[in-house]
C-alpha cells in the first residue's frame, strides 16, 4: 500500500473514509478495478456476488458500490434494489457487457446489455458503464459521486 501513498493521503483528508465496494464475479475485473481505485486513493472492498456484497455492506457500509449486472446467484439489478432499500444514500455505479450471458433471443426488442443497464438505472444506479470502459471516465464518475474534486 505504501506505493500508493499519494492516494492514501487524500483519503486521510476526509472526515469519513471514502470506501468503495466492488461486486463482480470475475476476479480479473475485481482486481483491476481495485488496483485502479486504490491508486486513486480510495479504500476498496470486493465481493464476488450480490449476497456476499449485501452482507459485507451491512457489517461495514461503503459509500459507493460498483456492481456488475449479469452475475450468478443474485444479479446486479436485484442487488442494487435491495441495497438501495437498506441505505438510501448509497451511491451506485452499474457496469455491464460481459460474463455468463444467456443466449439472447434473436429478435427485435431482445434484452440487450443496454437494456440491463437501463433497468439498473431504473432501480437506482447513479451511473452505468459498458465494458470495456476508460479508466479516466471511471475515476471521474467515482470522484463526482463521492463529491470530490479531481
Amino acid at each position: 500500500m505504501a506505493a500508493w501513498g499519494l492516494g492514501v493521503a487524500r483519503v486521510d483528508g476526509d472526515i469519513d473514509m471514502a470506501s468503495i465496494l466492488i461486486i463482480d464475479d470475475e476476479e480479473d475485473i475485481r482486481d483491476a478495478l481495485q488496483m485502479v481505485l486504490e491508486s486513486a486513493g480510495y479504500e476498496v472492498k470486493v465481493a464476488s456476488n450480490g449476497n456476499e456484497a449485501i452482507e459485507l455492506q451491512r457489517e461495514e457500509p461503503a459509500q459507493l458500490v460498483i456492481t456488475d449486472i449479469i452475475m450468478p446467484e443474485k444479479d446486479g439489478v436485484r442487488t442494487i434494489k435491495e441495497m438501495r432499500q437498506e441505505s438510501p444514500g448509497l451511491r451506485i455505479i452499474a457496469i455491464s457487457g460481459g460474463g455468463g450471458v444467456e443466449p439472447l433471443a434473436y429478435k427485435p426488442g431482445a434484452i440487450t446489455t443496454t437494456a440491463y443497464l437501463a433497468a439498473a438505472k431504473e432501480v437506482g444506479a447513479d451511473r452505468a458503464f459498458t465494458k470495456p470502459f476508460d479508466r479516466k471516465d471511471l475515476i471521474q464518475a467515482v470522484d463526482d459521486l463521492l463529491g470530490k474534486l479531481h
Partner: protein
C-alpha cells in the same frame, strides 16, 4: 385397296351400284317387252283391219267378176300399205296384183302371230262372203318396218337407261361424300382431342339426327375433358408454386436460423471478450498514468491500447450484428437526412470514377430507429457497393422511397408484416455476387474479398441493424451486372407520433 372399299362412302356407292345392276336389266327388258308387244299388236290389228276392209270391197257385188277392177283394187291395196302380197284365189284361178314380183307367188302359210315362220312376212287369208263362189283374199305384209321400230326403241331405251345410270352414279358419289363429310369432321375433331388439342369447340352441322347427336355427345365429352384437364393443370401449377414457395421459405428460414445461431455464438464470445478487455484497458491505462513521462515504454503501451481499441470496435460490430447492442428505446427519426449526410461523407471518400446517383425524393420517411445505426447501415452498404466496382469505375445509385408491403411479400419475407415501409435501395453496377455466395453474405466473417480488405462484418452488421429495427434486407444480384440491396424499415405513421 380393301381399306378404301371399307369406307362408308365407298360402301354407299357400291350398294347403289349393286341395286342398279339388278334393277336396270329388269327395267330394260320389262320396258322392251311392253314396247315390242304394243308395236306388234298394233301391226297385227292394222293389217287385219285393212284386210277386212279390203275384203268388204271385194264382197261388194260384181267386184270379183270384173277382173280389171279386181286387179286395180289389189294394186292399190299393195300401194296403200306395207303389203308385199295381195291376191284373190278361187279354186285354181289366181288373180294377183300386177305390182308384185312374180317369184313372190304361191308359197305361204297363214300367220297367227307376229314374226311367225321367220320369213318377216305376215300372211293372212280371208274367205270372201260371195254367194255360190269359193273366193279367198290372201294378203302378205312386211314385218320388217315394225321390227326396225322395235330395234330403234330398244336402242333409245338403252341410251336413256345408260344416262340414268351415269346420273345415278354421280348422285351417289355426291350424296355419299356429302353424307360422310360431317362424320369425317367428327373424326378429325376426335383425333385432335386424342392428340391433346382439346381447346377447339366441336362444330358439326348435320341434318342427320344420329350424326348430330354423336357430335353433341362428343362435344360434351370434350368440354368435360377440357374442364378436368384445366383443373388438373391448375392443381399442378398451384402445387408447384406452393412447393417452390415452401422451398424458398425453408431456405430463408435456414439462413435466418443459421444467422441466429451464429449471432448467439458471436454475442456470447463478444461479451466474454469485453470482460477480458476490461483488465487489459485498466492495467494499461494505469501503467501509462504511473510511468514517468519520459519512459520509452509509453510508446509500447500506446500500441497495446491501439490494438485493444481495435478489438473493442470489432466486438462492438459483432454485438450489432447479433442485436445485443444499441439503444432498445428507438426514437422516431426521418431517414432522409441521415442518408443525405452519409452520402455526403461517401462522396469525399470514393474516387471520381464512381458515379454516385441519389434519388431521395420521398418525404416523411419516419421510422423508429437508432440514428447512428441507420447511418452505419448506409455507410456499410455503400462501401460494400463501392468495393464491388472494379478499378474502371461504375455507378452506385441510392434510392429512398416508401412502399406498401402486402401479404404476398410477407409470405416470402417472414420477418415482415403487411403495412407501410420505408425502403432504401442501393444498386451497384459491379461484378455481382454468385448464387452460392448470396446465401452466405450476411454471415459474419464471410467475405469474398482478399484477406485484409474488409473484416467480413459489414453486411452482417447491416443485417443485424435491419432486423433489430423490425425490418429486413433483400439482395438481388446478377454476376457481371451488379447487385441491389433493399432495406425495409417499418414506417411509423405520422398519426402515431
Amino acid at each position: 385397296m380393301a381399306g378404301k372399299l371399307n369406307t362408308l362412302a365407298a360402301r354407299v356407292i357400291l350398294i347403289g351400284l349393286a341395286i342398279h345392276a339388278v334393277l336396270l336389266p329388269l327395267l330394260f327388258y320389262g320396258l322392251l317387252y311392253i314396247v315390242k308387244q304394243s308395236h306388234e299388236e298394233r301391226f297385227v290389228n292394222d293389217v287385219r283391219k285393212y284386210s277386212r276392209f279390203l275384203a268388204d270391197y271385194f264382197e261388194f257385188e260384181g267386184t270379183v267378176s270384173n277382173r280389171m277392177r279386181a286387179v286395180r283394187l289389189l294394186d292399190s291395196a299393195v300401194l296403200g300399205s306395207d303389203g308385199v302380197y295381195a291376191e284373190l284365189i278361187e279354186g285354181d284361178t289366181l288373180l294377183r296384183s300386177g305390182l308384185l314380183p312374180d317369184d313372190s307367188a304361191g308359197i305361204y302359210e297363214e300367220d297367227f302371230a307376229f314374226g311367225q315362220h321367220g320369213d318377216h312376212i305376215y300372211f293372212l287369208s280371208i274367205p270372201l262372203d260371195i254367194p255360190d263362189r269359193q273366193v279367198s283374199l290372201r294378203m302378205g305384209f312386211d314385218e320388217l318396218p315394225t321390227i326396225e321400230q322395235v330395234k330403234l326403241a330398244r336402242q333409245r331405251l338403252a341410251i336413256v337407261l345408260f344416262l340414268y345410270l351415269i346420273v345415278s352414279i354421280i348422285a351417289l358419289v355426291f350424296l355419299s361424300t356429302r353424307m360422310t363429310r360431317p362424320l369425317r369432321a367428327l373424326q378429325t375433331a376426335s383425333r385432335n382431342i386424342a392428340k391433346g388439342q382439346h381447346s377447339d369447340h366441336l362444330q358439326v352441322d348435320s341434318q342427320i339426327t344420329e350424326i348430330r347427336e354423336l357430335a353433341t355427345d362428343l362435344e360434351s365429352m370434350r368440354s368435360e375433358l377440357v374442364g378436368v384437364n384445366a383443373s388438373l393443370l391448375q392443381e399442378i401449377a398451384e402445387r408447384e408454386a406452393a412447393d417452390k414457395r415452401r422451398e424458398v421459405l425453408e431456405s430463408k428460414l435456414r439462413q435466418v436460423q443459421k444467422l441466429e445461431t451464429v449471432g448467439v455464438l458471436a454475442g456470447g464470445i463478444a461479451h466474454e471478450f469485453n470482460n477480458i478487455l476490461v483488465p487489459i484497458f485498466l492495467y494499461t491505462e494505469q501503467a501509462l498514468h504511473d510511468l514517468p513521462a519520459e519512459s520509452p515504454v509509453h510508446a509500447q503501451l500506446d500500441r497495446v491500447l491501439k490494438s485493444s481499441n481495435r478489438a473493442k470496435s470489432l466486438v462492438q460490430q459483432i454485438l450489432t450484428f447479433s442485436h445485443q447492442s444499441g439503444n432498445p428505446e428507438h426514437e422516431p427519426v426521418d431517414v432522409r437526412p441521415i442518408v443525405e449526410e452519409a452520402l455526403e461523407l461517401l462522396r469525399a471518400l470514393i474516387p471520381s470514377t464512381v458515379d454516385l446517383h441519389q434519388d431521395l425524393a420521398a418525404v416523411d420517411c419516419i421510422v423508429l430507429a437508432d440514428r447512428n445505426q441507420i447511418h452505419q447501415l448506409v455507410m456499410n452498404l455503400c462501401s460494400n457497393a463501392y468495393q464491388a466496382l472494379d478499378e474502371t469505375g461504375g455507378s452506385i445509385s441510392v434510392v429512398l422511397d416508401r412502399c406498401a408491403v402486402d401479404e404476398q411479400f410477407c409470405r416470402d419475407h417472414p420477418q415482415l408484416r403487411a403495412g407501410g415501409y420505408v425502403r432504401l435501395s442501393i444498386h451497384d453496377t459491379g461484378h455481382g455476387i454468385s448464387r452460392n455466395s448470396l446465401d452466405r453474405i450476411f454471415e459474419p466473417f464471410y467475405t469474398t474479398r482478399a484477406v485484409g480488405k474488409g473484416t467480413g462484418l459489414g453486411l452482417s452488421v447491416v443485417h443485424g441493424i435491419a432486423v433489430s429495427h423490425s425490418g429486413d434486407i433483400t439482395v438481388e444480384s446478377e454476376p457481371g451486372k451488379g447487385t441491389t440491396f433493399r432495406v425495409y424499415l417499418p414506417e411509423k405513421s405520422p398519426t402515431m407520433r
